[in-house]
């Protein structure tokens, strides 16, 4: 279980997150929703260690991780798919994918994970030896997600995965992720601007507004609350 307790993050004088608490249970998808600047990206960057919180804690299965370096957090099995530019454009597609699992010890399993990634993300297989800079925006997003899955993470942090992806492709990817959640107990934190589609696949949902938690409930129930939808989610 990923637990966030009383998290406050500031960039200089600007408070980005204030006293945010939430718990993300194992084997579930939790959507974090909210407008631009609500603090969604700051939240995932704090979990993965790229940003240091001012106060508060982040715990993975009761272990405090908020003071660890990002590379150590990644090695605990938290994979972060950053928004936009996560692909190393100078490297080939295959090199990018290999990087995802390099910290894991078992080389046979690493190869298997690579093969699975090509199976799931078929468009990547045909271009494995091309530089990632030749990929389209959607293909890059695909590569970024595939690379995170190669690490066989316990927790997957997805920051705006829908950006640049065609709806059908996104649907396939999310179906696969949902499968991993059910079968292997993967925990997913999904950051989305598009609240409607996020709520449709999430189990739980949290709404952030101006750095604070505005609402948190079962995804289905949040989707049903009309007032909330109008106020924060825009649909």
């Amino acid at each position: 279980m990923l637990e966030i307790v009383g998290l406050t993050v500031a960039y200089g004088p600007v408070i980005a997150l204030q006293d945010v608490s939430m718990s993300i249970p194992h084997g579930s998808i939790t959507a974090v929703l909210g407008a631009n600047g609500a603090g969604k990206t700051t939240l995932v960057r704090t979990i993965s260690g790229l940003v240091r919180p001012r106060t508060g804690s982040v715990r993975l299965d009761h272990t405090e991780i908020s003071r660890l370096a990002p590379e150590e957090i990644a090695r605990l099995g938290i994979a972060h798919v950053p928004e936009g530019r996560g692909v190393l454009a100078e490297l080939t597609v295959e090199e990018n994918l290999r990087l995802g699992g390099l910290w894991r010890k078992d080389p046979t399993d690493r190869r298997r994970a690579l093969a699975e990634a090509y199976e799931l993300f078929a468009p990547l297989a045909g271009r494995r030896h091309l530089p990632a800079s030749t990929l389209s925006g959607g293909e890059r997003q695909m590569l970024s997600i595939a690379r995170a899955l190669v690490a066989r993470p316990r927790v997957l942090l997805l920051d705006e995965p829908s950006l640049g992806l065609a709806g059908r492709v996104l649907g396939q990817i999310m179906a696969r992720i949902k499968h991993l959640v059910r079968e292997r107990g993967l925990t997913v934190l999904l950051i989305e601007q598009n609240a409607r589609s996020a709520l449709s696949i999430a189990d739980e949902a949290v709404v952030l507004s101006l750095g604070r938690v505005a609402a948190a409930d079962r995804a289905r129930r949040l989707a049903g609350e009309e007032g909330l939808r109008h106020a924060y989610l825009g649909f």
Binding site: P70, P82, L88, L91, E95, R98, L99, L102
Partner: protein, 292 residues
């Protein structure tokens, strides 16, 4: 033997040294966006350490290894202890810092090893070889110089292109933040990059010492020409560094041979500025300049 051939062979050997120096600078530039002006002084220092070993009775090859290993270690220490803390300071600060390291090493060397000019042995004969009755101005040591620089470059190429470690190092250099999210210990990779680069520099130091003689500032010119070669090729391109270094070697040899040795550096300056006027980011710059 034509004058042109003599100058070409001479340029090739010298160019190999500049190429090694340029490659060392490019490796560090790619990893940490630092031009390591202390590179030459570090190589000077490790060559003094090799001489120290030789004077204590060590055989040539042991001293050779001493220089390379000390290069490895010195590079790692400089990165970890001095360069890492100024990572987030204004970019010019690290330039000044490497200049400071240069001065300290150039002052320390005569304190520890004496200030007089010393000779340094070569692994093989430095007398030109003969093919049948023909004397060619290319000695077995020149061949060794060329071969060992080439060999080290091939090893590095294999390391970077074919191994997981090399992949990690490249990733860390291209994008530290994403690499860290992938569990790569970026700090270690950068230290290792400096260490390897410094070893390449140390090799250049040992190879050029027999012909330049050993004194505290003997690597200064090598550094400047190596740097010139590196920017000629483009600081982001290892093959560019090698080509640029060789080009500077040939250019200096031809200018020196045909126009007089006191115009060598003026010639290098003219060539550099002329090339940069046409290609301001070096011959091998393939990335478009990121402006915004």
């Amino acid at each position: 033997m034509g004058r042109f051939v003599v100058l070409t062979l001479n340029g090739l050997t010298e160019g190999a040294i500049y190429a090694a120096m340029a490659l060392a600078l490019v490796m560090i530039w790619r990893a940490t966006r630092v031009v390591n002006f202390a590179q030459g002084a570090m190589a000077m220092f490790t060559t003094y350490l090799a001489l120290f070993a030789l004077e204590r009775g060590a055989p040539y090859w042991a001293a050779f290894i001493v220089a390379l290993l000390c290069g490895l270690l010195l590079g790692a220490v400089v990165e970890r202890v001095l360069v890492r803390p100024v990572e987030s300071a204004p970019p010019l600060n690290v330039v000044i810092l490497t200049l400071g390291v240069l001065l300290v090493l150039e002052a320390l060397a005569p304190m520890l090893f004496g200030g007089q000019i010393r000779s340094f042995p070569a692994a093989f004969s430095i007398v030109g070889m003969r093919v049948g009755s023909l004397a060619i101005p290319f000695s077995p040591f020149d061949l060794f110089t060329l071969g060992s620089v080439l060999g080290l470059m091939v090893i590095l190429l294999l390391l970077f292109q074919k191994t997981d470690l090399g992949l990690r190092m490249r990733a860390a250099a291209f994008n530290a933040e994403v690499s860290r999210l992938l569990g790569i210990r970026v700090g270690r990779m950068l230290t290792l990059g400096w260490a390897l680069a410094s070893m390449v520099g140390a090799l250049a130091g040992v190879l050029i010492a027999p012909s330049l003689l050993l004194y505290p500032t003997y690597m200064d010119q090598v550094l400047v020409f190596g740097f010139t070669g590196a920017i000629l090729g483009g600081l982001d391109s290892p093959p560019g560094a090698v080509v640029g270094g060789l080009a500077i070697g040939f250019a200096l040899s031809y200018v020196g041979g045909y126009f007089g040795s006191d115009l060598e550096t003026v010639g290098a300056l003219v060539i550099l500025v002329a090339v940069l006027m046409i290609r301001p980011r070096g011959l091998f710059a393939w990335q478009s300049q990121r402006q915004v």
